[in-house]
Amino acid sequence: MKRLFADLHLCPPLNDLNSAYQLVKKAKTLGYNLLGFSTALHTNKNSLISLKNFCEETQIDFVSRIDLTPKNRNELKSQLRSVRRKYEIICVKCETKEVARQAAQDRRVDLLNFPSLYFKKRFFDHAEAELASNSLAALEIDIKPLIILKGSSRTRLLSFLRRETAIAKKFQIPIILSSGLGKTTLQRKPRETATLMDLFDFDATSALDTVSKNPYSIVLRNRKKLSSSFVAPGIRIIKEGHL
């Protein structure tokens, strides 16, 4: 069966929709089928709607995604309560250990994202992985810093990512490889992006899964849950009867 490819983390400036449209067009040419855009709580809804319409025109599947950057555990919980039924993908940018631990154990969180340049804030360790393995969270890795950084900072980042991917593998946590890009010149083909997983000792099939099967399974799972026929895991309304 033909693989479908996804990039869940495009970061165009949403006040300049033309550059976002360029990213969508290029992604279509490169072979992506599903795209997600980084949005925050205060993002203008109108620009998202026009972006969604443009994706439909270019025959690309649009995924609504929100990036949460809470300061503490309680703020994360309240934000999750307000957005879970509105977005298909919820990503938590873990900037404190408290938030990282709460995000890992909360079943409403889909993606865990850690700051690429602040190595002290990369909290994905064994404890975090164990919590995440009992919930539904996946680890998101952005390729942007791997492309842009040079020299010792890239070496350090690679070293951290090698450790984190090994832990994720051990605890069977899905890894999502996203671009994190806002420029068309840095966009790459999905199969090329997947070859970066060679740096973390992934075989070809599991590397391709990080840009196709893993993101797709999260999106499909959440779409099922958000559909009106969903009741509980394993239970859905097939037909409504009349008494």
Partner: protein
């Protein structure tokens, strides 16, 4: 001695200006050396077979064992001679003949 298996990669160079073939292959060597070190780069046996400046397409040869390393390194190339560049793999094949046949089917 065991025969070394080779792979040919057809590349699409996305650049606002035409590149010098030497600059292109140097950039690829450099990217492999940065990511995998000099030892890793030495295993790739890279060479530029062809570069068409009109279509901005190139054919590069490498060894089968280091194919993934070369592909991963190609992603990291963002500029050549201060020009913003991105390289995309169009096709991979074991022979130049089959590679050229494959490229015709794929416009990008």
């Amino acid at each position: 001695m065991k025969r070394v298996k080779r792979r040919y990669l057809a590349l699409q160079v996305e650049s606002p200006s035409t590149l010098h073939p030497r600059a292109l292959i140097d950039a690829i060597w450099n990217a492999v050396s940065l990511l995998y070190g000099e030892y890793g780069a030495s295993k790739t046996n890279l060479s530029l077979i062809e570069y068409n400046s009109e279509t901005n397409r190139a054919i590069v040869r490498t060894t089968l064992v280091s194919l993934d390393q070369v592909r991963a390194s190609l992603i990291t190339i963002t500029s050549i001679d201060d020009t913003q560049v991105s390289l995309h793999v169009l096709a991979i094949s074991g022979t130049i003949k089959a590679l050229k046949k494959n490229i015709l089917k794929k416009p990008f």
